[in-house]
């Protein structure tokens, strides 16, 4: 295992390559440019393909095409560019196509700024495109996790034949940390053998599409998709930190989860019994872990780098079983552990 010191964006690119990604399609946008830049340096030398597309729309449609050929491929962008990719993500979901989409999100809405924000939670988790579909969403909280979860994203995309998003932010993308690189994965060449397009040869031609006009066929396809999403629940991942004796459990994801952890360490020293639940998979959402803690009488506070998105899923999971407060850090401002002390202490002092 080699130890290297890299930016989060480079870790994502390396994770993709170590997961067997051989095609990258992208369009420049801050703060994720190190991903296409790294890919453009490395991919051609290892027999891969790098295409700087004319737009985010074209890039994600190239991903759709590569996915249909059963090739491990990726696109990346940041918030406004991810909005443009939603159409194709819906088509990929509707056509059972794998692909990895990275969003190093920035502040919005609109052009917003290029600073960190978690304002894309709804878009990522609820489906920013049309139709009744889901994409799996993984949210790294460190550069190491950015690398690891990107590798995992490829496994999940092909296991479920579904788009998978890695949702980071400007903090994760731009920060440098040491990471341990794993042994590269050599995907089974047959992993897509039963469905991919490659020219029909001697078999019957295959059609990959999302148009379903025959009576009942769209309904049946939607049931098939729901069954797939149900199966994907087993991919739920979360981290718990000092929850065992906690009166208050803070729920926070990604970089904010990481920063809140520092606040919690400090508050523990002052005697506050506070813990952290950090969803690692945002879809599927770790609802049962929350329910378990609620059953043990914990109270909750959701902290996000937006003005209240994931908190809706936390409250939905808790279903009235326990209270959950909310503290939102404004987009564009880089939060420090200090920023979360007061809201956590305040939530702890509130009576049940």
């Amino acid at each position: 295992m080699s130890r290297i010191f890299v930016k989060g964006n480079e870790a994502i690119a390396r994770g993709a390559l170590d997961a067997g990604c051989r095609c990258y399609f992208g369009y420049p946008i801050t703060p994720q440019n190190e991903i296409p830049e790294y890919m453009s340096r490395v991919l051609p030398g290892i027999g891969g393909q790098f295409v700087q597309a004319e737009s985010e729309i074209a890039a994600v449609n190239m991903l759709l095409g590569a996915g249909a050929c059963g090739v491990r491929a990726m696109t990346s962008s940041s918030s406004p560019g991810i909005s443009l990719k939603q159409e194709a993500i819906s088509y990929m979901a509707g056509s059972d196509l794998p692909g990895v989409i990275v969003n190093i999100s920035r502040g919005g809405p609109g052009l917003g700024d290029i600073g960190p924000s978690q304002g894309d939670y709804f878009q990522a988790v609820k489906g920013g495109g049309h139709g009744d579909y889901r994409q799996l969403v993984l949210a790294p909280a460190s550069v190491q996790e950015a690398y690891d979860l990107t590798m995992l994203a490829f496994e999940l995309a092909f296991a479920y034949r579904n788009p998978v998003m890695v949702l980071g932010d400007a903090i994760i993308g731009q920060m440098m940390e040491p990471i341990s690189q794993r042994e590269p994965v050599h995907p089974d060449p047959d992993e897509s053998g039963s469905w991919r397009l490659e020219g029909s040869g001697e078999r019957k031609p295959r059609v990959i599409k999302s148009l379903r006009l025959a009576e009942g066929s769209l309904g049946d396809h939607n049931l098939h998709l729901q069954e797939k999403y149900e199966k994907a629940r087993r991919e739920c991942r979360h981290e718990e930190f000092l929850t065992q004796d906690a009166e208050l459990v803070v729920v926070a994801f990604g970089s904010i989860g990481r920063i809140v952890k520092s606040t919690i360490r400090r508050l523990r020293q002052e005697g506050y019994r506070v813990g952290l639940l950090r969803p690692v998979s945002l879809y599927p959402f770790p609802s049962s872990a929350l329910q378990e803690l609620a059953g043990q009488g914990r109270r909750f506070l959701t902290i996000e780098h937006n003005l209240g998105q994931m908190v809706e899923d936390v409250r939905l999971a808790l279903c009235g079983q326990a209270r959950c407060g909310f503290y939102g850090h404004l987009p564009g401002n880089l939060p420090t552990p200090d920023d979360f002390e007061e809201p956590i202490v305040k939530a702890m002092k509130e009576r049940k």
């Binding site: 074209a58 190239m62 759709l64 056509s95 020219g199 029909s200």
Partner: protein, 251 residues
Amino acid sequence: MEEVLAYKSPDILADTPTHFCPGCHHGIVHKLLASCLEEAGLARRSICVAAIGCCAFIYNYVLVDSLEAPHGRAPAVATGVKRSHPDSFVFAYQGDGDLASIGLAEIMHAANRGERISVIYVNNTVYGMTGGQMAPTTMVGQKTTTTPGGRQAQTDGYPMQMAEIMAGLRGVRFAARVAVNNIKNLKKARKALFKAFEVQQQGIGLGFVEFLAACPTNWRMSPVEANARVAGDMIHCFPLGVFKDETPEER
């Protein structure tokens, strides 16, 4: 008496009644495409990228591995297919609203990159399946459901001449406009398809063939009248011809 096989339908052309309207040219283009793919020995390693609208249904008739692209995005999807699976023969099948309006960025840049793909572009001057609205190719004066008084150049602009535009891009190695309204034109169309296939096979760039096609239903015409319109107004507005041929034998 010895039996002589006078005609054999291409193996990859589905043996099924067509759902297209009477007088529609899609079926003729499908058959021509199927026979050319077979004759060129490309059918078994072909991947078709179908666009939306009436074009989408090509996979019900031309039986090769096929993929459906979002509206206008077929050249980008085909880029992803060809780049990830370079041994395959890749063609996109798009209509005029798809290619020349919503998908203009995708076709221009796939062409400019010289993607090793073949683009079959069927221009019938209207949004067909959607019900006959104005397309970027609607002729000046032509009535559609959104130009009830006829297309006005002053407010609606001019019909886009894609074959000529494509020929102007360096990544394109073959660009032609053809028609299938009579046998003579059909034969020229056949030649053009082979050339478009050839530039992909040679790995030198993109091949583009624009087909002028009739849409009698949305033109509110009989099949015979529609065919006559192709021969008259349409060829007048969209001249047939080869606008670029950089196949090795022509260079």
